[in-house]
């Protein structure tokens, strides 16, 4: 079936079967590879994108459910005020190690900061709980969210 997908401000016509996860349309059809495959069952968060501004797991979001929605990926974050602040904080603190989960971490953190401009450590832990990092960069993720909040407040 042909589906109209609005991704990062552009409209794409994609041919995909119903039930195809948004993740694979983004990666394999539209060749945007910043969004990662980690588990396929929404338990690691590496595939997190924004759907109408809300973080969702693209491996469990199906293509037929996103028609008419705005999908935003990591590739668009530099143009987003909160996204750019999170990226800056991530670089200042060198949050990344292998980096494979970090697109998802950043997308989830941006979602959090748009809801809560100054989250506490506990609120960060709660919001970021579903984003796994096998390198265990969690101390810096927590500090990075707090640093991004500072950047945005300044």
């Amino acid at each position: 079936m042909s589906i109209t997908l609005k991704l990062n401000g552009k409209t794409h016509e994609v041919d995909a079967e119903p039930g195809t996860p948004l993740l694979w349309v983004i990666r394999d059809e539209l060749k945007l590879t910043g969004t990662k495959f980690g588990c396929g069952v929404a338990s690691c968060g590496a595939c997190t994108v924004h759907l109408n501004g809300e973080p969702v797991r693209s491996c469990q979001t199906f293509i037929e459910d996103v028609e008419d929605a705005e999908v935003t990926t990591i590739e668009k974050m530099e143009e987003d005020k909160v996204g750019a602040a999170v990226q800056q904080a991530w670089m200042e603190l060198d949050v990344v190690q292998c980096g494979y989960c970090q697109s998802g971490q950043i997308m989830n953190a941006v979602g959090l900061l748009k809801e809560n401009a100054k989250p506490s450590a506990e609120e960060i832990d709660e919001a970021m709980y579903g984003n796994a990092c096998r390198c265990a960069t969690y101390q810096r993720i927590r500090a990075g969210v707090q640093r991004a909040a500072e950047i945005l407040e300044a």
Binding site: E17, T20, P21, W24, R27, D28, E29, K31, L32, T33, G34, T35, K36, F37, G38, C39, G40, V41, S43, C44, A46, T73, I74, E75, M77, E78, V86, Q87, W90, M91, E92, D94, V95, V96, Q97, C98, G99, Y100, C101, Q102, S103, I106, A121, I124, D125, E126, M128, Y129, N131, A132, C133, R134, C135, A136, T137, Y138, Q139, R140, I141, R142
Partner: protein
């Protein structure tokens, strides 16, 4: 860039010469001067046509910071800032890019990336500097000794010019045999905690290229249905349901018989078609045991005379000392199989060029492995195989299989085609968790005897488990007199001086393929040593720190171990936890480095235990990138503690029971509230940092829990959650 054609010639020349530093045959001065090509000044330093330096990194970057670290060494000696230098990954060529601690083998492991490269990369940077300076001195008619390179400018004798201006002439010069290395007092980058990772920008904006991100024109995606039990083989398969999947291309049994490769137009089609495949397996020779049987075998071995007397102790005398001691502390431990579960599921992409070369795109931890395997599979000479190293999304040991398992799988899937289309092999998380390479299961039985003063008079230690090295290509490397050192490392070579110690080892049968897992044998040996030290201290009525110090000599290895122990205790406020909290400590040497950890926890076993703070002290010699050292410590602690808390791989009838993160739960952000790391200032040569934080992390937590609950009963078997510890 002309690198594809020119570098090959350069590498052949370099290999033939055997020179550590070599001016490339393709360091074409005229081209470099005209601004159209890069110039290799030696195997590790290239100067781009734009005058920017490029470090050639021989180690994989899978998060441990090797790319930044190796580049720091070049930049320091060359005389450029970190903003003036880039990095690229070396091609596969063990004659030039071998790990100096591995012999003629290119690879990353054992926390050796900086340790083996420190002199080599400094020399390469210094040689490049001296060549550029010589060229400038000649052109300016001044003494070379009057010149230096500072922030990319050749400077001195009243003159200054960008180093790029001298690349053409420098490339024609003799390589200095022994370039002058900068004195530590001159260092601006080595040891500078402000240095940022070079791979951060690409990893925060989605442009970082992992092997999973390779999208070659016309590529097929292959997924494999593998035998559910080790040793099973394909009898037949039915792909009629797979054919209903749009994008399915074909299915073929792999010649090894261990699986069926399903080819499709894209990843999602490959997943669906693979899952729709019906396979009949021959399991007559397959593993059928359960975890309980494997455990029983290991535990039974602990009660027999060990096969190997590792430290050649007088076993009868040790046993007698323990039996006759005033107090005997006895404990038996069991450690389950563990999966590595790197964040990026295993994958690689293979293609054939118009010239008939085979090209592998891979987050290759040990490029020499697939390089050698492909020579056999494709019946090609080494120079017809190229390995393009990509960023790797973690490994923790998994990408370093002695049999190059996933790369061979991709090679076999590719050779069964007409090779007109590239093949990208993709594993999903279920494949990864069930993929058959695990931290081996192990058991320990320890009996420690104390005299009436609380002093150790005997330590009878038996280990039983599955040898990682035996039966692999690495056997001769690590197995001596039948003893696989990787099963007893951390005990056999401990800096503790323990009176009357016997160490016995018995190998048990492998029920799965077993593999090094971040810190290898230290994952279990450090746990046992450090939990036993605490139990002995308690029995002796002594403080755990003081008790350990009694067995650490005042110089050498032991003094460095004592140093981190004291530093961690001091920084953590040892002995004075906040109200309602308990502390535990552990210290261990591994991969040349010393790490002590204090875990401070709160709660109870009804409401849940909370890990409030980890305080770590590390002595890894010179910390090239101190912030990377801190990051590796944080990560290694998380890796060790996360698995000790919750994870195990179990078998039922030979098949792995876990399948994905919901039942192989990763450490989560809320699990550890804070980690604070202190680095011991040192002028010693740098040692490992990727792994050494892992071994003492779990025993520090265990000792804190024993203190909090006033019991060690639940800590003899991992994971802790299975043994009755409740984490909030």
């Amino acid at each position: 860039m002309t690198i594809n054609t020119s570098r090959r010639g350069f590498l052949q020349g370099a290999a033939a010469s055997g020179a550590a530093l070599y001016i490339g045959a393709t360091a074409n001065g005229a081209m470099a001067a005209s601004g159209s090509a890069d110039a290799m000044l030696n195997n590790f330093v290239k100067i781009g046509a734009d005058g920017r330096a490029i470090a050639i990194c021989k180690h994989v970057e899978f998060g441990q910071g090797s790319a930044t670290g190796l580049t720091t060494l070049i930049a320091e000696e060359l005389g450029v800032t970190m903003e003036q230098i880039d990095y690229e990954f070396a091609p596969s060529n063990p004659a030039i890019y071998n790990n100096l601690l591995f012999g003629p083998f290119q690879g990353t492991g054992g926390s050796t990336a900086i340790a083996n490269s420190f002199p080599q990369y400094r020399n390469a940077g210094a040689a490049a500097r001296e060549m550029l300076i010589s060229a400038a001195a000649k052109e300016w008619g001044v003494e070379a000794s009057a010149l230096d390179i500072v922030e990319g400018m050749v400077t001195g004798a009243g003159k200054s010019a960008p180093m790029g201006e001298f690349v053409a002439a420098a490339a024609e010069m003799e390589v200095p045999a022994e370039p002058r290395l900068r004195d530590a007092s001159e260092w601006k980058l080595i040891g500078n905690a402000q240095t940022r990772r070079l791979d951060s920008p690409a990893k925060v904006n989605g442009t970082a290229m992992f092997a999973m991100d390779v999208q070659l024109d016309n590529q097929m995606v292959v997924m494999v249905r593998r035998t559910p039990q080790r040793g099973g083989t394909v009898v037949s398969f039915d792909d009629s349901a797979s054919k209903e999947v749009k994008g399915f291309i074909m299915a073929q049994a792999l010649p090894t018989g261990h699986g069926v490769a399903v080819y499709a137009e894209n990843t999602w089609a490959a997943m669906q078609a693979r899952n729709a495949l019906e396979v009949e397996w021959d399991l007559s020779a397959a593993e059928t045991r359960s975890s309980a049987e494997i455990k029983d075998e290991i535990m039974a071995a602990l009660n027999t005379e060990p096969t190997y007397n590792v430290n050649k102790a007088d076993r009868a005398a040790v046993k007698s000392s323990v039996d006759g001691a005033a107090q005997v502390i006895e404990k038996t431990f069991y450690f389950p199989l563990l999966a590595h579960a790197p964040m990026e599921p295993l994958n690689c992409t293979i293609e054939q060029t118009a010239d008939g070369d085979i090209v592998l795109h891979d987050g290759a931890q040990m490029p020499t492995g697939p390089h050698m395997a492909y020579q056999q599979i494709f019946e090609l000479p080494a120079e017809k195989i190229q390995i393009k190293s990509m960023l790797a999304g973690g490994s923790f040991g998994r990408r370093a299989t002695p049999d190059a398992d996933y790369q061979v799988e991709a090679g076999l899937a590719f050779i069964m085609t007409d090779r007109s289309r590239p093949v990208k092999l993709v594993w999903d998380r279920e494949d990864d968790i069930r993929g058959g390479y695990y931290r081996p299961a192990a058991g320990h039985k320890v009996r420690v005897g104390l005299d009436e003063n609380g002093t150790i008079v005997g330590w009878d230690h038996q280990v039983a488990g599955q040898s990682i090295m035996k039966g692999t290509a690495f056997e001769s490397f690590a197995v001596h007199d039948g003893i696989d050192h990787s099963t007893v490392e951390g005990i056999a070579d401990s800096p503790y001086t323990i009176p009357g110690q016997a160490l016995g080892l018995t190998d048990t049968e492998k029920a799965t393929s077993v593999l090094w897992w971040r810190s290898v044998g230290h994952t279990h040996t450090a746990y046992v040593m450090e939990v036993m030290m605490d139990l002995a201290a308690k029995a002796a009525g002594k403080d755990p720190v003081d008790f350990r110090l009694d067995y650490l000599a005042a110089e050498g290895d032991a003094a460095r171990k004592a140093g981190v122990l004291k530093l961690a205790a001091e920084k953590a406020g040892w002995g004075n936890p906040a109200a309602g909290r308990a502390q535990g400590i552990a210290v261990h040497k591994s991969f040349g480095s010393y790490v002590a950890i204090v875990a401070e926890i709160s709660g109870n076993n009804d409401d849940g235990i909370v890990i409030e703070k980890i305080t770590a002290a590390v002595d890894c010699g010179i910390a090239v990138n101190p912030d990377t050292v801190v990051a590796q410590l944080e990560g290694a602690v998380g890796y060790g503690i996360g698995h000790a808390m919750r994870d195990q791989i179990t078998l039922d009838g030979g098949a792995v029971e876990q399948s994905n993160f919901p039942d192989y739960e990763p450490l989560r952000i809320s699990d550890i509230k804070a980690i604070e790391t202190h680095i011991v200032a040192s002028a010693e040569a740098p040692t490992g940092m990727g792994e050494p934080g892992t071994p003492p992390s779990a025993p520090a937590l265990a000792n804190a829990i024993a203190s909090l609950l006033d019991s060690s009963d639940m800590l003899a078997e991992l994971p802790m959650a299975e043994a009755g510890v409740y984490f909030a």
